[in-house]
Amino acid sequence: MSEMLRVENLNTYFDTRKGLVKAVDGISFSIDKGEILGIVGESGAGKSITGFSLINLIDSPGEIVAGHIFFDDRDLVQLSEDELSKIRGGEISMIFQDPQMSLNPVITIGKQLIETVTYHNPETSKQAAYKKAVEMLELVGMPAPEKRMASYPHQLSGGMKQRVVIAMALINSPQLLIADEPTTALDVTIQAQILFLMKKLTKEFGSSLILITHDIAVVAQMCDKIAVMYAGRIVEYGSNKDVLYNPKHPYTKGLIQCLPKLNEEKDRLYQIPGVMPSLLHLPEGCYFSDRCPYADDECNVYPETKTIEGRLVSCHKVKQIS
């Protein structure tokens, strides 16, 4: 498969009054055509900022200070705002957590969908755009799509709104879709439907998908590749199978162990002690060392990223963990 997006040493910093926050600190990953990449981590790990950085939606005081995002032979970091706005919603689109916030409350969903088409393809006729919008609504499982075109967002349930958002994101057949916690606000039954639709439609459209979530079980269902983020850095990055069933980083391992499971009885859950350090006061060495059961003096230096059994991992203690 061919490479669709390659991120090299991306750094997004926020120069706040309290100090410099390295929200994304030198991360690299790539995604092939048609592939689904999951970015998992706790809140504050930098996973959303990574998603925003890809289409340069970083507000002041944030800034991409270094790195490259290669997409279609272009470096997105170098593009002007005009060029970027053509890409956003066209070749790359994004789905956010709260569908209520992504839709305009005073415009019908039909009009919003049509606008998305005509903005990126000005030559498309109104009728063609309308037809396409109805087709998309049907694809995402909206009952009575023609009738729904005239609805306002508040007339739809949360799950239905998220379907509209997905329809809008996919309507221009983007090459890359970035979904930031797309199902966190939804019930489990709706979550399963939305995830299934996203997986199915991205495969049908041949799009790649970056799924950003805190829920490792969701990632397990969806993704081909997984990047685990901690305090602004990727600590483990590899195929779904390698990372989930044979984790090499103690944080990944802890995250998987601390989940209650349906097919397993445990008296007590494994717990990772402590909390993620503040990005303003990061420890000297490995950022995870304070919470790590394997940490010793060696961990006072941030570990280099090594390739171990097919995945990239940043940990001194990999040998002890396996």
């Binding site: 039954t189 989930l244 909390v275």
Partner: protein
Amino acid sequence: MSQSQADILKIENVEKIFEIKVSSFKSKNLYALNKITLEVERGKTISVVGESGCGKTTLGKVVSGLYQAEKGTIVFHDQDIAQKKPQQRGLLQKDIQMIFQDPYSSLNPRKKVRDILEQPLKIHTKLNKEERMATIEKTCADVGIDLGYLSRYPHQFSGGQRQRIAIARAIILNPELVIADEPISALDVSIQAQVLNLMMDLQEKLNLTYLFITHDISVVKHLSDYVAVMYLGEIVEYGTKEQIFSNPQHPYTKMLFLAVPDIDNPILSEKVLETGEIPSPIDLPDGCYFAGRCPLKDADCEKEHPPLVDKGNQYKVRCIKV
């Protein structure tokens, strides 16, 4: 007004009705709780599970006194508290405490941790200042709050720590029943395990009874003794954890289980699209409320509303197809 020794709480035919304005002149009744009957055994954990809008939070609020029921009885210590406001409940109120979902909004931002914890003691006990401080210190040790933090304000803590403060506030009066409404869903995954473990330790130590309200089925499996599945204001299935998880009978329970993502259990198939959405709780049909989404539905289901049938061994189910 009697209850068996083993049961701490006996809820019988409780109804909570909200009036919803449908136009300027007309309002309709929304049955948030529709003849709920439930017995809560002392020292055990009973979980109430269902999708948003099923009435599970309302049930917790009625038991805790934040709402008053319109009909039915809730017997606690041989007294009916269903229609009593907290002030009318007198000393009974201190034996029922609540932990809320969002530790960011459930703690007063202008009060120090010490004051937050002292308030319930001031209201409900005759302890003097030293005794109150001693109680606070003991409770802090129980839940793992550093005593040095007592003079801090809530915003100085992380989500997990705040939830510990909220738990400390709930247990400081030595209550018998603790209602926990989604206590971990606002927390990061690595913190969820810490809080769940803490709650289970406290239950053992203080002989607490939990009414655990959640949508997270893996968590229910982990900590419950009994499980009540709710749908549109009604209990549709009730039983011990083993009964519900090893052999769910109600089609709604089965549907919920089918949608739970788990690392080892792929759920995403065409099947999830059949699950539909929870309908509006206003103007419910005469027959089974679940019929519209049910794969087993036939004409009989729409004729009559199915009763909750006691199948013996504490197991109850509301479905004519079982």
